[in-house]
Structure formats: structure tokens, C-alpha cells
């Protein structure tokens, strides 16, 4: 693993390697509980807490975790934090806890969290692991609120419970039902791909031209600059 700066550790997860929109990890909660912004926020914050806690713990225990049983150890650590989050939500916001139901417990099997432990926290000092967890957690929260916002605005005509379009708006009920989740994420990915392509085109017109002339050599050149620019 090549060394990175603390800022890069923090910023990377927020957008350029956004867990949901770019890496497509943690899709189950991103689709299942984003039928309103409120649920999406609660889920995002709970996941953020679990990710931060387990990253810090895994990173500080990394010397004592044997390699053969590391995955089970990570899962146990994550499950402990999820239990804390579950009981905490039940105590403070029982209404939301009831709405989210078993999906809070299902944070355990969110591949994004396990992925961060395996790929980052188990190899880095505690501070860096915490920064990475904060960045990834914020990235997850952003993706959740984007999904929840689109689905709530289109599906009920309101945002966080405030009516937006007046009484004549006919809500697209399907958006808050299961198909709407798949559809919203699909179209978000389409929009992102479109934006990415436009930016690549306007940033590197000459690279694209030389890519057409010499495809073998120019393709990696055309690929890397927009990754670092984004």
C-alpha cells in the first residue's frame, strides 16, 4: 500500500471512492430504508457510528488479531457496535427504530464496513483509520440522503415532512415502494456516469484525440488524469 496524506484518507471516501455510488457496497440499506429522508439519515448516522467505532478498535487491536481468524474477529467487533447502536436507537428514537426494524441489525452484514476493516483499518495507525472511517461514513450518509431525498420528494411531494408542491401534486407512490429504490439508484448511477463522461471530455480533449490515434498507449493516460482530477 502506498503512503497517503491524512487529508487524502479523509476526503477519498466522501466522493471519489463513495462507498455506495462508486464502489456499490452497502446496497441493501441504501435501497431498503431510503423511502424517507428521516429514515435515511438515521440509518446513515447509525452506520457512521458503527464504522468509526469498529475501525478504531480493529486498528488498535491489529497486532493481537491472528491472521487466520481476522474476518470472524472483525465481524464480532462490528456486531458488538451494532448491538450498541441498536439499543441506543431503541432508547432515544423508538419511532425510527420501529420503522427501520431489523435493518439496524443488518448493519453487521454491510459489506462496506467489513471492507474498510480488511482494506484499511487492519493495516494503518488508529488516527488514519478514524479519518478513513469518518470520510467513508460521510460518503455513505451523503449517498443515503441523496437517495432518500429523491424518493421522498417524488414519492410523497415533501421533504423531511414539509410539503413542497402544494395539494395538487400527484405523488409517484411507486418511488417509495421497492421498485422505486432500484430505479432511483439506477438513474443516480446513470447521471453520475454522464457527468463523469462530460468532465472527461471537456478536461482532456487532446488526450481523447491521441487515444483515438494510438489506442494501446493512450488509453491509460486518458484514464488516470480524470481520476486524480475528480
Amino acid at each position: 500500500m502506498k503512503p497517503t496524506t491524512p487529508t487524502a484518507d479523509l476526503v477519498r471516501g466522501i466522493w471519489r471512492e463513495n462507498p455506495v455510488l462508486i464502489q456499490l457496497l452497502g446496497l441493501c440499506p441504501a435501497l431498503a430504508v431510503t423511502n424517507s429522508v428521516e429514515n435515511a439519515l438515521a440509518m446513515g448516522i447509525a452506520t457512521f457510528f458503527v464504522l468509526l467505532g469498529s475501525s478504531v478498535l480493529v486498528s488498535s487491536l491489529k497486532k493481537w488479531i491472528p491472521g487466520e481468524v481476522r474476518i470472524s474477529t472483525y465481524i464480532l467487533i462490528i456486531a458488538t457496535f451494532v448491538t450498541v447502536a441498536d439499543l441506543g436507537l431503541e432508547a432515544f428514537v423508538p419511532a425510527i427504530h420501529k420503522e427501520l426494524g431489523a435493518f439496524i441489525s443488518l448493519i453487521v452484514v454491510n459489506c462496506m464496513i467489513l471492507g474498510r476493516q480488511e482494506a484499511f483499518a487492519s493495516k494503518r495507525p488508529v488516527g488514519r483509520a478514524a479519518l478513513d472511517a469518518i470520510g467513508t461514513g460521510i460518503g455513505f450518509l451523503i449517498a443515503m440522503v441523496m437517495m432518500g431525498g429523491v424518493r421522498e420528494i417524488l414519492g410523497t411531494g415533501s421533504f423531511l415532512g414539509f410539503s413542497l408542491f402544494g395539494p395538487n401534486y400527484e405523488p409517484w407512490v411507486v418511488m417509495i415502494l421497492p421498485p422505486g429504490g432500484f430505479l432511483t439508484l439506477g438513474f443516480l448511477l446513470l447521471v453520475l456516469a454522464w457527468v463523469e463522461r462530460r468532465r472527461a471530455r471537456s478536461a482532456k480533449p487532446d488526450a481523447a484525440m491521441s487515444g483515438a490515434a494510438r489506442p494501446e498507449t493512450a488509453r491509460p493516460d486518458a484514464g488516470t488524469p480524470d481520476r486524480s482530477a475528480a
Binding site: L24, L27, C28, L31, A32, I71, S72, I75, L76, A79, T80, V82, T83, D86, L87, G101, A102, S105, L106, V108, V109, N110, C111, L114, V174, L177, P178, P179, G180, G181, F182, L183, L185, G186, F187, L189, L190, A193, W194, R197
Partner: protein, 194 residues
């Protein structure tokens, strides 16, 4: 009783399809659904793990968890992880060919949210008996397999068709999943009439 069990199976399989209506087990749904053959095998492995987990979850729920309710999540995930490990070792010993075909997806069943979700719903939401739980698990597994196979057969066909280059890959898969999910919504309310 018999009809009850039948409805549990049908409901877990079609009306409340785990993948398309409850968003559980999306990782294999996106990852392993490019070939019908792999999809079927993945589905069968899932049915097997689901069934064993259902039995273990029922025992834990009735004999251990009354004394320590806060251990539910931790004990379930440990049981699932060890069951997957045992399944993996058994398949490796009995059928090395199948083991090679399943590859990385076998250990990944541990983090398939459908398994943990099924165990949690079976015990906390519905409080099924052992027999009902078994039917619920098999129904859930059949539902997963059904969704996987449907998705894989559609994706095998879209490979040859001319789709906009922007939509290639996950975006297209998600939009197909949305239409499949719409179709499954037609089944909702199936059991409530009778």
C-alpha cells in the same frame, strides 16, 4: 396447519421476495447474476445455508436467548459464519469440482444479509415454530434463487443487445431489477384475500 405452512413458503418466496421486495441479498444479486448456471448453484448453496441457519436460530431463540437477549445478533452471526465454514469444508471434501465453481462466493454467503435477515425475522417478527421456520427458510431460499435466475437470464440477453454505452453495467442491472420488482408487486395481497 398445512395450509399455513404452504402460505409461509409462498409468501417468503413470491409475495415478500427477499431480493426484489425487501432488498436482502443484493450483493450476489448484482455480482453472480451474469450466468444462469452460476446463479442456480449460488441459489442452491443459499437454500442450504438458510435451512441450517433456521434450525440453529430456532434453538438459540428458544433455549439460549431468553437468558441473554442482547446476544441475539452476535450469536446469530457466529452461527452463520461457522455454518458457512462447515458447508465450505464439506463441499471441498465431497465435491471439489463444485467447490471450484462456487469459488469466492461461498465464503461471501456469510455476509449475505438475506441469511441474517431471515434468522432475525423468523425469530423476532414472526416467532415461528421449528417447522414453520424451516418452510420460511426454504421459501426465502427459493425466492432468492428465482430472482437470481430471472436476473441472470435477462442479463444474458442484454449482453447481445445494443444499449446506450452510458447505461452498460450496474445502472442497467438496477433498472432491470426495478421492472422485475414492479412485476413482483403484482403479487402483493395474494395471501390476504383467503
Amino acid at each position: 396447519m398445512n395450509q399455513n405452512v404452504f402460505w409461509i413458503l409462498l409468501s417468503a418466496m413470491i409475495v415478500n421476495n427477499f431480493t426484489l421486495m425487501m432488498f436482502l441479498g443484493l450483493c450476489p444479486f448484482m455480482g453472480v447474476s451474469s450466468r444462469v448456471g452460476t446463479a442456480v448453484r449460488m441459489g442452491l448453496a443459499n437454500i442450504f445455508v438458510l435451512t441450517i441457519t433456521a434450525i440453529c436460530a430456532w434453538f438459540l431463540h428458544n433455549f439460549v436467548l431468553p437468558y441473554a437477549p442482547y446476544l441475539r445478533l452476535i450469536s446469530f452471526i457466529v452461527v452463520i459464519a461457522s455454518m458457512v465454514q462447515i458447508t465450505e469444508m464439506a463441499i471441498k471434501k465431497l465435491s471439489p469440482a463444485l467447490f471450484r465453481q462456487l469459488g469466492i462466493f461461498l465464503p461471501l454467503i456469510t455476509t449475505n444479509c438475506a441469511i441474517l435477515g431471515m434468522a432475525l425475522w423468523q425469530t423476532t417478527k414472526y416467532d415461528y415454530t421449528l417447522i414453520q421456520g424451516l418452510f420460511y427458510a426454504v421459501g426465502a431460499g427459493l425466492g432468492l434463487t428465482l430472482a437470481l435466475v430471472l436476473m441472470a437470464s435477462i442479463r444474458e440477453n442484454t449482453e447481445l443487445s445494443d444499449v446506450p454505452s452510458l447505461a452498460k453495467g450496474t445502472a442497467l442491472t438496477l433498472i432491470i431489477a426495478a421492472s422485475l420488482s414492479l412485476a413482483f408487486m403484482g403479487f402483493s395481497g395474494l395471501g390476504s384475500a383467503s
